[in-house]
């Protein structure tokens, strides 16, 4: 029974890539260590053995050229998947991502099509310190021409990765490092989850929590704890951060009248600021409390587990944020 089928998040990614490569000979992968080694987290494991070294390509440690390889190959008719290993490394390739991939179509008057997927691993929690733990998605969401996807479950991973590969625009697929081993239901057949469509993970009437990536699970844990007290939280996972499904978020805010946005990225200038602004623009009269934001403090990600566990938001912090949103007396 397909309902029984379970896969880890990392293998859901791998299966999406594998099935896309089977279906479309123009799909290929390139990146550091992805071939014989199978990728730093095993994300591309077994694919070179299956599809050959011409389609699963080991590259030099050259992030600009890796993304450039994808841009040039996409502009000339292939459907590349290029891997940047850690999200921090997008900074090394920023010209190719921001000035080239994102803008080529527009600058060329619409003539170029760039079906390019850039994959990377974001988030902290592995004591990987300040250059291997960042959540830089807000920077990418700020760039017109890019799409940004951040799955929180194995099911969403496969469906969203399949959609990224089918997408005719440059898309950044962010895997959360601490979700790689998470197991969940994944159908064997190929399926797509449309980009730009949020998922209501948990329905509730008292408060809306918007969270993505690993923070979805921390938010659900907080919501379950509060449910014991009769507080019903609605947890929304946007899944795609650009384009953002503001419609679903605003609709929920209008029902619950209270919203908390949660992310692992630093709070200042994070996606939570944009989501809060959208809600106050579109649902100001419905709000019974300011839109709350939970995010990391404004510092680089610290190394020591003692510091990092304090740094990354958790269910306890989210629970406190929800209680604060509920403190205000409604109209």
């Amino acid at each position: 029974m397909s309902d029984e089928r379970k896969l880890p998040y990392v293998m859901a990614f791998n299966e999406a890539v594998s099935q896309a490569m089977e279906a479309d000979p123009s799909v290929f992968c390139a990146g550091e260590d992805i071939g014989a080694f199978g990728g730093v987290f095993g994300t591309f494991g077994g694919l070179q053995a299956k599809f050959g070294a011409d389609r699963v390509v080991d590259t030099p440690i050259s992030e600009q050229a890796i993304v450039g390889l994808g841009v040039g190959a996409a502009a000339t008719g292939l459907r590349p998947i290029v891997d940047l290993m850690f999200m921090d490394f997008i900074c090394v390739a920023m010209d190719q991502i921001v000035n080239q991939a994102a803008k080529l179509k527009y600058m060329f008057g619409g003539e170029a099509t760039l079906p390019l997927t850039i994959t990377t691993a974001g988030g902290g929690g592995l004591s990987a310190a300040a250059q291997h733990s960042q959540s830089l998605e807000a920077i990418l969401c700020h760039i017109p021409g890019l799409k940004v996807v951040y799955p929180s479950t194995p099911y969403d991973m496969k469906g969203l990765m399949t959609a990224c590969i089918s997408e005719d625009n440059p898309t950044v697929m962010v895997k959360h490092k601490r979700l790689l081993g998470m197991t969940g239901h994944v159908p064997a057949e190929r399926y797509e989850i449309p980009l730009g469509k949020a998922n209501i993970v948990r329905a509730g009437k008292d408060v809306t929590v918007v969270a993505y990536g690993r923070m979805v699970h921390e938010s659900v844990a907080a919501a379950e704890k509060l449910a014991a007290e009769g507080i019903e939280c609605e947890v929304i996972d946007p899944r795609t951060l650009q384009p953002l499904d503001t419609e679903t978020i605003v609709e929920s805010a209008k029902r619950t009248n209270r919203v908390l946005v949660v992310h692992e990225a630093v709070r200042f200038g994070g996606l939570g600021a944009e989501i809060a602004a959208q809600i106050q623009e579109q649902a100001f009269d419905y709000l019974d409390a300011p839109v709350g934001r939970i995010g990391a403090p404004f510092s680089p990600v610290p190394f020591s587990p003692a510091l990092e566990q304090h740094y990354i938001p958790d269910a306890k912090a989210i629970e406190a944020g929800i209680r604060e949103a509920l403190l205000r007396v409604g109209a």
Binding site: D24, V27, P60, L78, D95, N99, Q100, M107, F108, E167
Partner: protein, 327 residues
């Protein structure tokens, strides 16, 4: 010259088309009839023409901020080019790219580029796709001497060699990175010295001699097409005008003598002299070519000036491709 008379005329025509387009663009800019920046290719015509003359229509090139010459040499249409420079809806990029992003994907021209060095990694991608498809296409990355100092070039050259891709790195060494002379920004005299560091053959050619450039390009393109991997061509050339625009803006970074010496070696007039000397052409033939192409330019300016500007609602069009295309 082992290059056929027909090919000599072809290369000459490409150069004259570039010269006339650029001179016209310069005049229009001086008269404030072009918005934005303008980096003129005058003086360097032999490089784009000699290299693109060795390519097929379905081969790819990436270009630079000084990119008009590459598009003209690849067969670019004057009307759509001039309209783009004027920011018109009929331009190559519908007025959204301008001089620094002018492109024609149907001619394999993957765009002028406002970021120095950024074209080379994209050319590597085109070369990868060409190798992947196994249809014998090649890619050429055009770039200047200054671009070889930026990391993107190094990454691209190394990756192209590591993956043994069908690509030619065509360096236009015009001796200046913007306003700073090459000898202030690198400790070597010849860019070609860098080729060995990547494991590819490199050759220096006289970038004012279109035949010499063409012969070197034929060899490098043939090597790429037949599985021999990347090559580097360093063409020693010179920018007759400024880094951007026509005027010197009061800056004196090159001596009049130096400019005059290079202008004596004008790539178009020296080719004409040789072709007449070798009895391949007559002065009258050249007169007729210039007259006809001047007429094309005049028509292009007229076309561009009479073209509509883009409607304001076009700002949000083509940020994204709307349809999903994959299987």
């Amino acid at each position: 010259m082992s290059i056929s008379p027909d090919k000599q005329f072809d290369l000459h025509r490409r150069m004259v088309r570039i010269r006339l387009f650029e001179e016209a663009a310069g005049r229009l800019a001086e008269a404030n009839r072009l918005p934005g920046f303008l980096h003129l290719y005058v003086g360097e015509e032999a490089v784009a023409s000699g290299v693109c003359g060795a390519l097929n229509d379905d081969d790819h090139i990436t270009s630079t901020h000084r990119g008009h010459g590459h598009l003209v040499a690849k067969g670019g249409d004057f009307n759509r080019m001039m309209a783009e420079l004027m920011g018109k809806a009929t331009g190559y990029c519908k007025g959204k790219g301008g001089s620094m992003h002018i492109s024609d994907l149907s001619l394999g021209m993957l765009g002028a580029n406002g970021i120095v060095g950024a074209g080379s990694p994209i050319a590597v991608g085109a070369a990868f796709a060409n190798k992947y498809r196994k249809q014998g296409q090649v890619a050429v990355a055009f770039f200047g001497d200054g671009a070889t100092n930026i990391g993107a070039f190094h990454e691209a050259a190394n990756m192209a060699c590591a993956l043994h891709l069908p690509i030619v790195f065509a360096c236009e060494n015009n001796e200046y990175g913007e306003f700073t002379p090459r000898d202030k920004t690198m400790a070597i005299t010849d860019i070609v010295d860098r080729a060995a560091g990547y494991g590819m053959p490199g050759v220096i050619v006289d970038g004012m001699d279109v035949i010499a450039v063409h012969e070197a390009a034929l060899e490098a393109v043939e090597r790429a097409r037949t599985g021999g991997g990347p090559s580097l061509i360093e063409a020693k050339t010179y920018r007759f005008y400024n880094h951007h625009g026509v005027q010197n803006l009061g800056l004196k970074y090159r001596s009049d003598d130096e400019v005059a010496r290079w202008k004596e070696r004008d790539p178009i007039f020296t080719l004409e002299d040789r072709m007449v000397e070798n009895k391949v052409a007559t002065r009258q033939q050249f007169e007729d070519i210039w007259t006809q192409l001047r007429n094309d330019i005049d028509n292009a300016i007229k076309f561009a000036e009479e073209s509509p500007v883009p409607a304001p609602d076009q700002v949000l069009v083509d940020v994204y491709t709307q349809k999903a295309g994959a299987r």
